[in-house]
Symmetry: C2
Subunit: 239 residues, 2 copies
């Protein structure tokens, strides 16, 4: 894979099949919680996924990320305990009509997935040269999220499912993983092979929420300006 980014420059070398592959990864990626296979992820593949993450855009080329690879059942059990506790807290804030559905959702695959990853953001890495961050210091966190999404799409292309677990107390997670104060655990991820990727997001197929109409989310020039009718019409008819 390294050869790809050691050439002198890249023309627009995506033919129709290559372009379709990129869209296929994007459209068929899923947030996996319940269907991990036991098959281990070879280190060669994990290395490729991490390299994909490392080639995310980052504000001021800051590369604020670190990756903690978590494999031991003991530590994963401790983290799952954090999630179970947080679920019990979160459910009380969910609309009462949705609480039963919430209780029945599988929301993490921490123990089943062969590899867990914590992706962090070191907020001090470009302390003296905050290019692009003086007005918007959160950009380093956003860069780290771009790394997560790169990893997610690369995983999809490898037949590996990924789930992002956000129902936990991040301070407790920091303590468990020994993460220093200036570092933010942006994402806790579960990774493993899956037999297939569901047709729709689970929260859509189980009736949690519906897919919004993309055309309704587009405005022209300013927030309240409808416009862009030609674009919206193409989206409605399915380009």
């Amino acid at each position: 894979m390294q050869a790809l980014h050691q050439d002198s420059s890249f023309p627009n070398d995506f033919d129709e099949a290559a372009r379709a592959a990129v869209y296929r990864a994007i459209f068929t990626r899923r947030d996996i919680r319940g269907s991990f296979l036991k098959e281990p992820i070879p280190d060669e593949i994990l290395a490729r996924l991490l390299s994909a993450a490392h080639h995310a855009p980052s504000v001021g080329f800051m590369q604020p990320w670190n990756f903690i690879v978590i494999r031991t059942p003991e530590r994963r059990a401790q983290i799952r305990d954090l999630v179970m506790k947080a679920r019990g807290e979160e459910v009380r804030h969910i609309d009462s009509q949705q609480q039963d559905l919430y209780r029945n959702l599988k929301l993490e695959g921490i123990l089943e997935a062969p590899v867990n990853l914590c992706v962090t953001c070191d907020r001090t890495r470009a302390e003296n040269s905050p290019l692009g961050r003086w007005h918007n210091p959160e950009m380093d966190l956003y860069s780290t999220v771009c790394a997560v999404q790169n990893l997610w799409l690369a995983a999809r292309a490898e037949g590996i499912g990924m789930g992002w677990v956000s129902i936990l107390d991040k301070d407790a997670l920091k303590t468990l993983l020994g993460i220093p104060a200036h570092v933010v655990p942006v994402a806790y991820l579960c990774l493993g092979y899956v037999a297939d990727f569901a047709k729709k997001p689970e929260l859509e197929s189980k009736g949690w929420r519906e897919r919004l109409s993309l055309a309704d989310l587009i405005a022209s020039e300013t927030w309240a300006n409808a416009g862009e009718e030609a674009l919206k019409s193409l989206i409605r008819t399915g380009v």
Copy 2:
């Protein structure tokens, strides 16, 4: 493209060429500032890019994003003025040895790019059912960033360059675009065709910062635990 997400389920249907295409998009994506071509982006292509963004993961399937398409030169000139003002403020906080280099960097292509996009996050969209957000309310912002990264990679596959402009006062941007108080402008993006994509990130080739060693960013089980030597060795030798 729509047909891709209307099948019943998706096996791991990525062959070697398709997998390589996904990695190629990831490794050859660049943050474009100075090399936009004048050629317009057809609405069919822009529709595909927005659809890619709309199929990002989102916490609780919240889909918190909106997309404001900005084309008029007048509005773009106003936004560029915000950036020029912010640059003048930011440079004073940059390490003194890097200030000359900073001043010479081209940091946005707002006027040159045929399309500008503001991607926002509506923080109230799942107000009564904050699945995955009770402990970590920032997850909706992170979902929006995932949408941006999807769009970036789809654009790369289309031969379209994208730049994320973060040197501006977001409150002033909100005023200019009429964005309501509960909505956050997460990303201001410039989009346009480019002749090619540079070998390296511009901030790397111009000596702003070096690419970090990925192996040095990996830990095992906890923050301070070296470990994962087999994985790191594979990364060092370039899988």
